[in-house]
């Protein structure tokens, strides 16, 4: 087990990158603590798989260094880094039994037969495949195969980290939950460093203790699911997390007031007028809709999603979503009020801290 440090890491597929756009991964400094359960969340193409492959050694970064603990592993090949990786679709050795699959990494390192057997039994019990050790890997279901992939990763006791690249992609929806729960249990029990790449926020938020959000080759925020939800550091985080995502409006901000489409909104901190494109953001959960309020709305429609309702409306030409509790009536002329402590200010997509009121 090790703490993984990325030092001034960047990656470009071009031979001589100049502009920011040439880099698939923009320069970053990031630390993954030993034993942490991390989710690496982002939209397709944002560079998360590239980052994962740099950590595992399948890709050599064009700039920067990767450290495991204190050791610089940037030049070390995958085989020497002692990590495990579970891929998007199950990778099992079809011709071997489940037992032989799990034993494979150990046998490659020359471990004794008795030791191998003991360890395989142990891991098989962990992943719930103990009853199927003698079966050929080929005929099993997708989730069983992914468990074997996972088991193959965990079978080495000194594995530094387990990396997951969207591992539930081919799993049936009903099994996804079961597998996620099992992963979480395994992490609690054994404490491996786990990095879980996904574009699904539910998977990320339920699995991880800390979520790393990536956008356009950059890490935009690292934090607990709570942090990401309540204080998104970047408009992308606000938009990507939550269902529906954060509402964003262009606004003029001065002191503790923001003006949106001619209407004033109260903020809970003082801001000097930010430079660049200024927006305020507020989650639908923190928009109160009533007959009286700060901002007039034009209702587009109301969606009933069971436990609550989503009000789709427009404010000053921009879309606004609000969560209405079940049963609450929609006023004829609805007006919205934003919770001041949950209204955040963004300048050029990055959050701005306010001063004392």
């Amino acid at each position: 087990m090790a703490r993984i440090t990325l030092s001034r890491l960047a990656h470009s597929y071009h031979a001589d990158p100049k502009a920011d756009a040439d880099f698939a991964l923009k320069e970053m400094d990031h630390t993954w603590e030993d034993g942490g359960a991390y989710a690496l969340l982002g939209a397709s193409g944002c560079g998360k798989t590239t980052l994962l492959n740099i950590i595992s050694g399948l890709v050599r970064p064009s700039h920067g260094r990767v450290l495991f603990g204190e050791a610089d592993v940037t030049d070390q090949p995958t085989a020497a880094r002692n990590i495990a990786q579970v891929f998007q679709f199950p990778v099992v050795y079809d011709t071997m039994t489940v037992r032989d699959n799990l034993a494979f990494p150990l046998r490659n390192r020359g471990m004794g037969a008795a030791q191998v057997r003991a360890r395989v039994d142990q891991v098989a019990a962990m992943i719930g495949m103990a009853d199927r050790l003698g079966r050929k890997a080929r005929g099993l279901t997708a989730d069983a195969k992914q468990k074997i992939s996972l088991g193959r990763g965990m079978v080495r006791e000194d594995v530094n980290a387990i990396l997951f690249d969207e591992p539930l992609t081919v799993i049936d929806p009903q099994m996804k939950w079961a597998l996620r729960t099992q992963l979480k249990a395994l992490h609690r029990e054994f404490g491996h460093t786990m990095i879980y790449v996904t574009h699904d926020q539910t998977e990320a938020l339920t699995f991880a203790d800390r979520v790393v959000v990536m956008h356009d080759g950059r890490v935009v925020q690292t934090g607990t699911p709570q942090d990401l939800f309540e204080t998104p550091a970047h408009t992308f985080v606000g938009y990507f997390i939550g269902s529906p995502g954060m509402n964003l409006f262009d606004a003029a901000v001065q002191g503790n007031r923001a003006v949106v489409g001619g209407h004033a909104v109260t903020l809970d901190a003082h801001y000097a007028p930010p430079r660049g494109r200024t927006q305020i953001g507020v989650r639908p959960e923190y928009v109160a809709v009533a007959a009286t309020g700060d901002l007039p709305l034009t209702v587009t429609r109301v969606e009933d999603v069971g436990r609550h309702r989503i009000l789709r409306a427009a404010l000053a030409g921009a879309p606004l979503n609000a969560i209405l509790p079940e049963g609450a009536p929609v006023p004829a002329e609805p007006r919205a009020t934003f919770r001041p402590d949950r209204t955040l200010v963004y300048s050029d997509d990055w959050r701005v801290e306010g001063g004392a009121a």
């Binding site: 090949p77 085989a79 020497a80 002692n82 390192r109 080495r156 006791e157």
Partner: protein
């Protein structure tokens, strides 16, 4: 609880592997040896075609001492030689056209429909590919003579369909299976008749499959000798047969023979060059 010994053991091997990935010396050596093995006999044929008969039979030289194009000149000016090429190209082209023309609808039927006896028909078709040409030499001779087609290009073209039609159907069916049936159904709904649908919509979709099938049928017809020699004598005589009569009063005309050989390789080389992007894809045949 780190297993310190194991990583240390893995490390040197892994590092060596990583180094090997930088420049693949092993692979380059293997490929160079193999390609040399393939090219040396051909090189020998080419140099021989550029030598005079005297030089060939009297001394042994790695490179022609008296470089000459006379052998090629003989072939290109003597009708009894160059007509051989013309004949070969003629019947091969006819064969490719016929084979594809009957294979396309048949492959479509096999890929889209289940009909009475379809599995048996398919296997029986494939079994024709396993027919030794030697078995058919004499029967073909008698058959085509009896219908007055002996020594014609069409006879050879038809004879070669024995092994080319099964192959073409096999290849085309594999590619057609990759096109979803929904496309056919949409076309019919849109009012296309079957012939128009097949030609304007379907064939462009399997264009690479047609290319692969054309390549293989060309290849197997171009290289075949036994049947093409048995069924021809003068008018449709392929170059292969002409080559076997190069013995003259002064002995074997090696130079001309070699030049004739080189010229038979050229059409094949050209075809490979044009379909080089499809070669690997084609061998996959959509079936593996």
């Amino acid at each position: 609880m780190t297993d310190a010994a194991a990583p240390a053991r893995a490390l040197p091997a892994a590092r060596a592997a990583a180094r090997a990935e930088r420049f693949p010396w092993g692979r380059v050596a293997v490929m160079t040896l193999y390609l040399l093995f393939l090219l040396v006999p051909i090189y020998w044929l080419v140099t021989m075609s550029l030598k005079t008969n005297r030089e060939i039979t009297s001394t042994f030289t790695l490179f022609p001492r008296d470089l000459t194009f006379d052998n090629y000149r003989t072939i290109l000016t003597d009708p009894s030689w160059y007509m051989g090429y013309v004949n070969s190209i003629l019947y091969v082209t006819m064969n490719v056209a016929i084979s594809l023309a009957v294979a396309l609808p048949a492959a479509y039927a096999f890929s889209r429909y289940r009909f009475m006896g379809d599995k048996h028909l398919f296997f029986w078709l494939l079994s024709n590919r396993m027919a030794p040409p030697a078995v058919f030499a004499l029967p073909f001779f008698q058959l085509y003579s009896s219908v007055g087609l002996f020594d014609t290009h069409i006879a050879v073209a038809l004879a070669h369909t024995l092994f080319n039609v099964p192959l073409a159907v096999w290849i085309l069916e594999g590619f057609m299976r990759g096109v979803p049936k929904e496309i056919d159904e949409t076309a019919y709904v849109d009012g296309y008749g079957f012939p128009r649908f097949f030609v304007t919509i379907f064939m462009p979709l399997i264009a690479s499959g047609i290319g692969v099938a054309a390549f293989f049928t060309f290849m197997f017809s171009w290289v075949e000798l036994l049947l093409s020699r048995t069924l021809t004598s003068v008018n449709a005589k392929p170059i292969a047969a002409t080559m076997t009569r190069t013995v003259s009063a002064s002995g074997m005309d090696w130079g001309v023979l070699a030049a004739a050989g080189v010229l038979t390789i050229i059409p094949g080389a050209l075809v490979i060059w044009f379909v080089r992007n499809y070669i690997a894809k084609g061998f996959a045949l959509g079936r593996v």
